[in-house]
């Protein structure tokens, strides 16, 4: 039984700038190396582009310094580093395309999306002063999420690319609304579970040493399961379906601490996947390409074969331990090398050593998300931070597992690395949310808060409001809500394990005001 709090809270802004320099060096260095190796000189727009990256990165750093001074120091550098690596690889594949007589300008577009994503992140950090505001929009988020998911099915608006109907055409650009839906759903799941987790924790019968929930509490998970199956059937996208269901099960587990929900979730998904694999042609193709990837017939199939997958694997093999070096491999032989298969492209040119470093960056990013979830004091923030961190981890697992033939290939994008505007935008908003929650979690509270003794307040709001009203003499913009409590780890206390529907840590809230 112990209480964990940071001894002396450091804002971490100086660490952040140090790491940011390294992260920018990674991206810019990669860009320079690509130019040097493929054209024998620095890329033509080298100074403009690296200047742009530096400006964006340091601009964002300054905004964080100003608006979220206690935000976690490693989130931004990791995002910038991964984004830079992705940009360099996309540029490198553009050059390869030019050599073949093509004229793809994906890198320029991706840079535009990066800028847009970082601006979106700044806007979120700037205007969202307290993440608990989002809890007010729990059910709005549900409706918005459903609309976003259903959008590609609208005739005339939705577009079908390569068999999956997950795109929406907006003028010249195509967007994947599911990428934004995952954010919105994270808000909805967090808001929903924080209010309803007590019911979902109630134990029913015990089976195999596991507390099963009561049958009537299975409603929500069945609904989400059906929804994700509907995505699978109507939009024909295994990835999105997997993404939403996985996110819900993970957040359910975080909210209730019951391993039985994970088992139920996996069973449901397994059943759904087997049913889908035996009845839906496109899922069948994916399974076939996964299980019989090396068969001649499957490899040479014109559409839906394993050619892409196997070429990616050969790319990884070509890279070996230390890689071929930037611009020295042939990642362009793999179809969609800059989006779905950017992992194998990077694996070929950076080798296992580089790929593991990239995976370590994701690991650290996700770890920070989970740490923020532990550090933050309100249940909604815990679930939201845990949920969005899990989504990133889940996406990485599904993509890397797919291209390395651990699981069937799906159409998810690698966060920050892969080419794709919607994904990049959504992931930068995730960064912003994590920064905001971590700022609230790490900001030191003025302890003790000596308020003048006043008349008791009788207007304790009965509503289950996420953001209790600021109680102060002069609620003005300069006042900040302070939430204060301490996390308690229950692990050491067998007596308390009896019933603890919390998120592993218990939560308390107190609201005061301070002038900043």
């Amino acid at each position: 039984m112990a209480t964990v709090e940071p001894g002396r809270v450091r804002s971490g802004r100086s660490s952040e700038i140090g790491l940011l320099v390294l992260a920018l060096a990674l991206g810019i260095g990669a860009y320079a190396l690509v130019g040097l190796s493929m054209e024998g000189r620095l890329p033509g727009n080298f100074y403009v582009l690296s200047g742009g990256m530096i400006a964006l990165g340091s601009g964002m750093h300054l905004i964080i310094r100003w608006r979220a001074p206690f935000a976690d120091p490693v989130i931004l550098p990791i995002a910038v580093g991964l984004n830079g690596l992705g940009l360099a690889m996309i540029y490198r594949l553009d050059l390869a395309n030019h050599l073949k007589g093509g004229d793809s300008e994906l890198a320029t577009k991706q840079l535009g999306w990066t800028a847009l994503g970082m601006v979106a992140a700044v806007v979120v950090v700037w205007f969202l002063r307290d993440h608990r505001t989002l809890r007010r929009y729990t059910y709005t988020a549900m409706v918005v999420g459903l609309v976003l998911v259903a959008l590609p099915l609208v005739p005339g608006l939705g577009q079908e690319i390569n068999g999956a109907r997950i795109w929406v055409g907006l003028g010249p650009a195509t967007l994947q609304p599911a990428e934004f839906a995952k954010l919105v759903f994270a808000v909805f799941f967090a808001g929903y579970l924080v209010t309803n987790r007590d019911t979902l924790t109630l134990a029913g019968r015990k089976l195999l040493g596991m507390q099963l929930p009561r049958l009537r509490d299975l409603g929500p998970i069945i609904i989400v399961w059906l929804a994700s199956l509907a995505i699978l059937v109507f939009e024909r996208d295994l990835g999105t379906s997997l993404l939403f269901f996985g996110m819900f099960v993970a957040m359910l587990y975080v909210a209730t601490e019951r391993i039985s929900w994970v088992v139920i979730g996996l069973t449901l998904f397994g059943g759904g996947a087997i049913a889908a694999a035996s009845s839906l042609a496109h899922v069948q193709g994916r399974f076939n390409g996964w299980l019989h990837a090396m068969d001649d017939e499957v490899f040479n199939k014109a559409f839906g074969g394993s050619g892409q997958l196997v070429r990616g694997l050969y790319g990884l093999a070509n890279g070996g331990l230390f890689g071929t070096g930037w611009g020295e491999g042939r990642p362009d032989l793999v179809p969609y090398a800059s989006s779905d298969f950017i992992v194998t492209s990077l694996g070929e040119e950076l080798g296992l050593t580089g790929l593991l470093a990239i995976l370590a960056m994701y690991l650290l990013f996700v770890e920070r998300g989970m740490r923020i979830a532990i550090g933050t004091r309100d249940g909604f923030g815990k679930l939201l931070a845990g949920g969005i961190a899990f989504v990133v981890a889940w996406q990485v697992f599904v993509v890397v597992g797919g291209v390395t033939r651990v699981i069937p290939l799906t159409g998810l994008t690698m966060p920050f690395l892969a080419y794709g505007g919607s994904s990049l935008l959504a992931n930068w908003i995730i960064v912003a949310l994590m920064l905001r929650i971590s700022d609230n979690a790490r900001r030191p509270t003025p302890l003790p808060l000596r308020g003048g003794a006043r008349e008791p307040e009788h207007d304790d709001d009965d509503t289950d409001d996420a953001v209790p009203a600021v109680r102060g003499d002069s609620p003005s913009d300069d006042e900040t809500q302070v939430v204060r409590s301490v996390d308690v780890h229950d692990a050491g206390n067998p007596g308390s394990a009896r019933r603890n529907p919390g998120t592993g840590t218990t939560e308390t809230e107190i609201i005061g005001t301070v002038d900043r």
Binding site: L350, A357, E457, T463, E509
Partner: protein, 158 residues
């Protein structure tokens, strides 16, 4: 070129390890307070004649600054006292949210009144106790007095 290639990989790992170096603070920079053997600051005795000034100072010093959970699942949790009331119960809207079958959703309230803090039971099912006495009407609460709410015991501390 080989040098650049390997140098880049080194840079990648330098980045990863610098992040880990920053994160080491998570392991070593936290203060873990265990309830066992925690110093009792409130046992400091005052000597000398209480002059009015000193009395006032003593009063300020005697004013509780935090609410501490001393028993129950939340043991070790502290809440700083501000000028607003503290609501204890199971409802998520409470200031101190207890995960406890034996507490009501809005169980008890501790609020400032004049110079002191007052404990009030909000019609809870299982009652709020000071020692073995059930609290029926609002009672002033002094630091160090143990209040039982369900399975938890809370007290005000300076």
């Amino acid at each position: 070129m080989t040098l650049l290639r390997l140098g880049y990989l080194v840079l990648l790992w330098v980045f990863v390890f610098s992040i880990i170096r920053v994160l080491r603070r998570d392991l070593y920079g936290t203060r873990i307070t265990s309830r066992k053997g925690a110093p009792r600051e409130d046992l400091v005795t005052q000597t000398g004649m209480p002059t009015p000034q000193r009395q006032q100072a003593a009063q300020v010093r005697n004013r509780p600054t935090r609410l501490v959970v001393t028993e129950g699942p939340l043991r070790g949790t502290t809440l700083p006292l501000s000028s607003s009331a503290i609501l204890i119960g199971r409802a998520p809207s409470c200031t101190l949210v207890l995960d406890d079958d034996y507490s009501s959703s809005r169980h008890a309230r501790i609020f400032p009144s004049g110079d002191q803090w007052v404990l009030e039971d909000l019609g809870s099912t299982n009652g709020t106790f000071i020692g073995s006495d059930r609290v029926t009407s609002p009672v002033p609460l002094t630091p160090g007095v143990q209040v039982r709410v369900g399975q938890s015991v809370v007290e005000l501390q300076r």
